[in-house]
Symmetry: C2
Subunit: 347 residues, 2 copies
């Protein structure tokens, strides 16, 4: 499963969009629950199955869901699930316990909907660059389409009700995936994170909550969903992101002014290792790509472009690599094949 998907760069990594030299993508997630149904974590499998059934019959009646597929846990191997996590189409651990959870993916991969994750429905959309309005509009379409057929748990005072109180209200989490090597190298990152945290945003690693920062990629998302409008949330993320970009640009300029030789050296060495290494872990590739991405943004290097960097980033991940080569691999074999793939792509 997914071998063909692995051969295509997912849309949010196209490298296009506003501020694409710093911001990889914008994401919006809407948490929704169905009125009168026990929430997934408290429900038994049969009750969860019913919710999947409601979703299925709704989807059958909606044109919007025609170009997409509904996947069940039973359809998938652990490798398939890892693949979907790497592609940011679902959260880690989802659908691994039984068959009472499901995932809808639109054919263009712009939208994915987790059914019976923490909430009954988690509608997610992603777009390249800094543009949270775009995934919001896309997710909103699916939200409306579902709302025409199914009744959401909604309180006129609070707004949408959710399993975790941190999502009550709009149920909206808007986030951007942002590349901040300048702030990491100048060690200004902690100061910037501390500053923006006070503005009501949260900073996480590449794979979301609880994940490590890899390749200097950070996810910035809104903290609050209660007492704010969707519009305010989108504006907050856009404006905080612009202030981070300004800090990052400032750090990059300072680096080029004060340590240009060292930075240029770091960039070219990273490129040289990617181009010639015979063994590469995914973490190392992410860190080397971070330097090369910085090099492209700072016009130090022009023999690779951002889409190519994104493609290598995506394919370097363990499940992607195995799907791409249609082969199950041990970690050692992956490190060897990953280096081969990187050399081939960067040639």
């Amino acid at each position: 499963m997914f071998e063909d998907m692995a051969r295509n760069l997912t849309g949010w990594l196209s490298g296009k969009g506003d501020e694409n030299m710093v911001v990889l993508s914008s994401r919006v997630r809407l948490a929704r629950n169905l009125a009168g149904c026990i929430y997934p974590s408290a429900a038994d499998a049969a009750t969860r199955e019913k919710v999947v059934g409601y979703f299925e019959s709704m989807a059958d009646r909606s044109d919007l869901f025609a170009r997409g597929k509904l996947l069940r846990g039973n359809d998938m191997t652990p490798l398939d699930r890892d693949f979907l996590v790497e592609r940011h189409l679902m959260s880690p651990g989802f659908m691994k316990d039984d068959n009472s959870r499901a995932l809808f993916i639109s054919d263009d991969e712009q939208v994915s909907i987790m059914i019976n994750e923490e909430d009954h429905l988690r509608i997610q959309a992603m777009s390249p660059g800094l543009n949270p309005d775009s995934p919001h509009e896309i997710a909103g379409k699916f939200d409306n389409a579902i709302g025409k057929h199914l009744e959401f748990d909604y309180d006129s005072d609070f707004g949408y009700l959710t399993a975790c109180p941190t999502n009550v209200g709009t149920g909206l989490r808007a986030s951007v995936l942002i590349h901040l090597p300048g702030l990491v190298i100048t060690k200004d990152i902690d100061r910037v994170i501390s500053k923006i945290t006070k503005m009501g945003v949260v900073v996480r690693g590449f794979y979301g909550e609880g994940s490590d920062v890899l390749g200097n990629l950070f996810q910035v998302s809104n903290q609050n969903t209660l007492g704010v409008s969707e519009k305010e949330t989108l504006q907050l993320i856009a404006s905080v992101t612009r202030s981070i970009i300004a800090e990052e640009d400032h750090a990059r300029e300072r680096l080029m002014r004060e340590a240009s030789e060292q930075i240029i050296d770091k960039i070219w060495r990273a490129y040289g290792i990617l181009k010639h290494a015979r063994v590469l872990t995914s973490e190392e590739v992410m860190n080397l790509l971070s330097a090369v991405r910085l090099g492209v943004a700072m016009k130090v290097i022009d023999c690779v472009d951002i889409p190519k960097i994104n493609e290598i980033l995506l394919l370097s991940q363990p499940a992607h690599l195995q799907k791409y080569y249609k082969e199950e691999m041990t970690p050692d074999r992956r490190d060897f094949i990953r280096a081969e793939m990187v050399r081939e792509k960067i040639k």
Copy 2:
């Protein structure tokens, strides 16, 4: 001074000769003193001057010395002296105090003679590969030529008398410069050094006595000069070197059997960094070249050859780099220009 010399690869680094995949060069040094003259360290400058004078008038009367030059300390800047040390034509610190010491260099650089170093005369010859007989023959010619005009301090029981008792007898030090990355990586080097030390040889770093091991290059030379013949000494060095080569070959085979991916990766990464780095210290170049040299020897890499590796090794040294580019440089500037030179040479 020496700018033109810096543009030519010195003969002993031609990359030719027996066992050239492990042994860079063979060297012979003869210590000689003139009968009836106080030894250099005990003599005053005027007395030392006299010895230089004896040498000069001897050289004037001998055809062998026609194709060469006699250099005095006053002729040289500190950079010039560093250059000659890097080229292994004289020992570190030589000629830096006053003008009463001199250095003869043959035009082909096969022979150099230090006058008033530790002994009155130190005649040295170098050849590429494992072949101590060749520099011995060359040094012997100059030894004989000098002996025709000047009387050496010689004792019928002891042999040649020298300033330090460790040189009394033959006055002969034969050595090879040998590349042992396999034994270093497998950590067998200490065992091998300990074994050969018992056979009457000494192991030193790249720049001789007291110098560090850089780029896995070792100098192996005989310990004894008393009670052994010249022939026995040359045979000892050749046979010990052959046994080290066997150990090194064994280590390389083991590496390729047990960790070929890691070794091949190490080799290609070194090449990638040399090819792309913008800042390189001389120590790093020596260590990276060591990996690339191993790669050439093991037929892992064929886009560079041994003469090219030797050329980069030579030119990476601080004084060579400055002579090559005809510019005095700060250490930071050298690291930058060195990387430029390496990229240019490896292209």
